[in-house]
Symmetry: D2
């Protein structure tokens, strides 16, 4: 007799998020990643999948400002290779430059109008996860926020690493699928062991699925805005 | 004029690993995950993709014992829901039982013959990453090992979270693709928002690709054995 | 005109602790430290200042069991020098033995009747602070306890390091002065640069003062029992 | 028969430090602590014991620049009470102001001429230990430095907490006794439970002794300069 298969995860793990418990994370929306004059575009990388997040992120920012949901923007910054650890073996392009302390490239793109004068928080770090060797966890506990609205780039790198770290610390993650983006590119496929051009969207969807599988909720930004807006009335 | 696309990552990031720098990680090869009488099988989950790792892992263990490469086995253990954090919202099946302190289910499967008497190290923890709230990093630095041979389950959960944490701490990761496995299942697809049956192999490959993209090397166990064996002669 | 001196700290920082927010920490009350047949006594160290804590700790344990305050006992355990880091340069006696995994010496002294069967939690680690590379913080958050009743040995070493780490993580510390103890001994005085015999009580008081100065509250156990008992009625 | 007492610790734990392994830490030499127009002086606190460190620290900085020993200066910074955690229950004066992000008070005193343009590193954080929720450990490993020359204020607070965290991570600590300082003040004595005026020097010496007892080496700056200078020739 075959056993009945159980549900391996819930579709919505945190269906009842409340605005007063939320903080918004904006990860690495920096010129070097998102601006057409930034390093990534300059290296010939197609940044369009990341650029597509700008408009929806702006709407979420406006909504969070209205709802008094704190906004925390993270930046990936290194002074030089000393701080980059084994990163240069993984992303050799960075050896030449990019994401450097004090440069225009590390600034958050102007369109988002992030500013500590407005009360936004800025977290800088030299590794993927925004929790790793930063004060982010302290800040979230100080703000008394347990639900993270997650946006930014790259879906499968810094965003997913931050989500994994959030889940381990018992923060509830709401990842906004239209507000996270990545890049594709030519790389060896570990299974076929042939060079393959992998689309940004493919890597993006794979990461969103990994989140749904066991890390948090993945929903469109309009849906979240609708849900939180309704609760607050 | 179109810019030439740069290589986004190296295929082999750490081609020159040496046995004297390596430690082998065996993640969550516990009865509840891998044994046909364990909880996961009991819940009706198809564990075959995880079970297929047992034989290749045994070979890697034997090789590591010959080469004096230390073996570190990690176990996922909780006493009760107090230690499981928000995990129960993500994996509701665990509320009923499984992975409980003191039970047969948390023991590492007998076939692997892991034993602290032989000098193997055991790391227990209640979260995905083997680095998170454990002494693993201290142990690796004490052993003076910077290269991690990674095996175990689930490819896309505890294995990938451990790999992400290893990379942030500047440990070089060699993930053995035939020695890591996962499970599939029916879940909502975050993009289509329809229920879909996703195969273990699909989740597995997506995770291996994420590792290749920016976290470490992914190779077959025989290849690693060949490379390390050659160096040591 | 001379400025009036401001109060540099409050005497009681947390005067309103409630039983339902408390957890009791018992640090390193292990045979090797406290038992007359343990390693420390065997090395000729006067352990009487540590032994004097046993009776008051037992009373606090009984009180905590009555009040359903969870009890967390920590043990200092190393398998061998690999796990001891630079500790052997600091405490060379440990090179010979003591505090070793699996030995009688690492067990918590029988008098305290600590047992996971009763619901007590055990935290093992190879460094001074009970928070460092352990799941203690996760556990306290899972138990929803923010106030730590701190007991054990050595006042100025593992106890104080744990208190410092607790304060940084925003846990409120109530150190029970009759339930913590240390050892004295002959050592070079860093100021006079002459060998001096320093009494346990002197090191103990210096540490309690450092806690009062900026880390937490220091009170006798009877006072705490009185305060918490009154609140609960 | 009385047992012979064993040496409880070595006087010099790390007698063979080498310049190429060293980094210099300068902790919290900020206007609010050290400058006569800073907050601490303004509150009527006698800052002379801290001010006395300025000249010897300058000499050590000059020596380190000559020897290419990297200099890491840490600052205690909070934006507002959200980031201060339970600190306000411990140091109520800070509620009114001091150590605030963007203020003159958080700047490192001009006399030390610390500057990232010169290659110095700056670490900001809102808790005592310079390791806690910062990238300091990553930086030290990236710089390949395992020996920390420790200077700054307050001996018994941020300095000692940083030293405790350094030791747990296996960094060798050389604390320079003339380059660390603290403040005294009127507080309740935890033993006598009477108000007492405790001198800065008393708290300072107690902390240095705690370091000698089990955390690291405590020596005068001239001695360290002599030792390291000799080795490098």
């Amino acid at each position: 007799m075959q056993k009945e298969e159980k549900e391996i995860t819930k579709w919505r793990k945190y269906p009842n998020a409340k605005p007063e418990n939320c903080a918004m994370m904006i990860i690495d929306m920096q010129n070097d990643f998102i601006n057409e004059n930034g390093r990534y575009a300059d290296w010939g990388i197609d940044i369009s999948h990341m650029v597509r997040t700008v408009e929806p992120i702006k709407k979420v920012i406006n909504f969070c400002r209205e709802m008094n949901i704190p906004i925390i923007a993270a930046r990936f910054i290194i002074r030089d290779l000393v701080e980059y650890g084994i990163g240069w073996k993984i992303r050799p392009l960075i050896v030449q430059g990019g994401l450097r302390e004090g440069s225009w490239g590390v600034e958050i793109i102007d369109e988002l109008e992030i500013s500590s004068q407005k009360g936004d928080w800025i977290i800088d770090r030299p590794r993927f996860s925004c929790f790793f060797s930063t004060r982010l966890e302290l800040l979230l506990r100080g703000l008394n926020r347990k639900t993270l609205i997650v946006t930014g780039v790259l879906t499968n790198q810094c965003v997913e690493s931050t989500i994994r770290d959030a889940q381990m610390r018992d923060f509830e993650v709401l990842e906004l699928l239209d507000c996270v983006g990545t890049m594709g590119g030519t790389m060896m496929d570990p299974i076929t062991r042939e060079k393959a051009k992998i689309a940004a969207e493919e890597l993006h969807c794979a990461s969103l699925r990994a989140v749904t599988f066991g890390l948090g909720d993945v929903i469109p930004s309009q849906e979240l805005i609708g849900e939180l807006g309704k609760i607050s009335k």
